[in-house]
Amino acid sequence: MSDLLRLATAGSVDDGKSTLVGRLLHDTKSVLADQLDAVQRASADRGLEVPDLSLLVDGLRAEREQGITIDVAYRYFATPRRSFVLADTPGHVQYTRNTVTGASTAQLAVLLVDARNGVVEQTRRHAAVLALLGVPHLVLAVNKIDLVDYDESAFRLIAKEFTAHATALGYAESSVRTIPVSALHGDNVVDRSANTPWYDGPTLLEHLETVPVQPDPHEVPFRMPVQYVIRPRSAEYPDYRGYAGQVAAGTVSEGDEVVVLPAGLRTRVTRVDTMDGPLAEARAGRSVTLLLADDLDISRGDMIVAAESVPQPTDELDATLCWLAEKPLRPGARVLVKHGTRTVPAIVTDLASRFDEQKLSYADAPGSLQLNDIGRVLLRTAEPLPADDYTTNRRTGAFLVIDSSDGGTLAAGLVGAALPVPDDAGRRPAADEQALLTPGP
């Protein structure tokens, strides 16, 4: 049985990210002959002598014409051990919102740097965003290692600087891996390079295949937002009433004591149902239908949670926002908040601080949040929400901020989730393996 790893890539312009992704696809035999033919033709048209593997992934006309990547591209490859869903995210500053998109569901992120330039502003910024979004594992691919003559000391210097930055952001050293690669020539991407005898770690693909991504579901309390109430009222199922949803965290089994929020009603799970029959247990990520012992008034937007760990619904959210819209956020803004399956009106009552990704510190009370800014805010919601802190639960601690006039997505919202700053002793409390390992959808 193979499992699924969701990963994201991020890097600055010209670090060779598309080439690295093209290399992964090519060397895992995920590129088929007609796709390669098309790349070879297009490369020849551009006067290139070797096929430009980045053309495999740059999909839009403007991207190919300008030689840049505009939007998140999803790529798929598989090995006998794992299937991979790869979100290839663009590196330009103005497209950081796409990095947030790609990273929100990622269990691992690959950051690229050019071995000649080392860790740059973008690298630090991306790492901060990845840490904020709780991506459990980081890989730094030190690319173009061929252009520094496969020099070990150049690699070690970059690796050391990056690891120091990542641990300051709250990562355990065991969650950070640095690998010297040449995407162009294939060194240490899939196959081990003969040019880096001093490197004894895994190749990039070996690491992707073996990095542990499944959390122990028993460590996290059960949560399931109700998506839909299933009531067939048919001759065969006259009284069936099931609450459909995807388990957001933990596990659920028949007989479990649960509480339905926001009402706070306590009941018991009588069946974990699917079209294929009832399940003994459903884990995070599984879509199921729950049948409950009592006839309660439950609808879409409610959340069913473990009785032994009930989040306190609140209408005051202390949250971190990644602002993703062109129009700035100002205090007093009226927005919609989508948390789980519930969407409620909200007011941004306070804009407390803005995070400086370079200095890893907060600046007090900015007048506004601009595109790509990360800031700490207070929100008052029209109805109480059963929110968890994002650092303990990536699913029930997350929310969208939506423009109530045009429906656009304005921000990624994270309940609590302050990034640690070096003054805060550097390490995010309880943010190590368990908390960060809550899986994506």
């Binding site: 007609d34 839009l60 299937s83 919102r97 190749t203 299933i230 067939p232 399956t341 929310f399 656009g408």
Partner: protein
Amino acid sequence: MTSTVTQASGVGSAVDDLEALESEAIHIFREVAGEFDRPVVLFSGGKDSTVLVHLARKAFWPAPVPFPLLHVDTGHNFPEVIEFRDRLVAEHGLRLVVAHVQDWIDDGRLAERPDGTRNPLQTVPLLDTIAEHRFDAVFGGGRRDEERARAKERIFSLRNAFGQWEPRRQRPELWNLYNGRHRPGEHVRVFPLSNWTELDVWRYIAREGIELPSIYYAHEREVFRRDGMWLTSGPWGGPRDGETVQRKTVRYRTVGDGSCTGAVESNAATVADVIAEVQASRLTERGATRADDRLSEAAMEDRKREGYF
């Protein structure tokens, strides 16, 4: 590949990949049912839309699927596919809306193309039918592994009143929190199979025992060669002069308009045979069998901008 596979790290995997993909798709179906007024499933009778219907049934069981299917019928059909469609609809108590491209040609809203191909003609009947029924969410079986432009499309893809996809105006799609808000006249295309590959679809068909139209499996057929593909004779204009009809053992990898959907020579008669064939294939399914995608480097992107699937 095998040379690079390393030893297990000792951490067992809890959820297998097909189960994760199935749960993601079911979650998407339920979100749409919970937030939209008039969803519809685009149904071609092909394997992806058949898998889509299977997942929709699973999402709402034991209740019926709470929205209809929409078939944009080019009139250039494989009879096996229409027979299969009607049987599937009857068997599961589904509702079916059919938009006949012929009706648009008959009343002059569309003109037949010189090459006789009707795939590009589907866009107008599709958009007209969406407007007429005021469908606000349109499920499609598109997968991101099919083509480079699709690889960049969101699972919830907002379309303007002209059905157009605007790549630079896509919303960020965060966690599994989908934003389906749209203004009157706009609609959202929803792709529950976004993260599936062709092989995933076939493995799932095998695991779930999903029935498909018989043309997906090897059979004998009268075919002729055009543009490097085996096309079937039919009212869509073929064979032309100089194209000779031969009897071949073939199967289809995609189902589309008969005029531009090619068969591949194959002896794969069962799901297991097909999986083995797909794993060994050196061509993508669209590259191998769809003339409409081979027109230019940006063929799919251009058609999506026009409101195509």
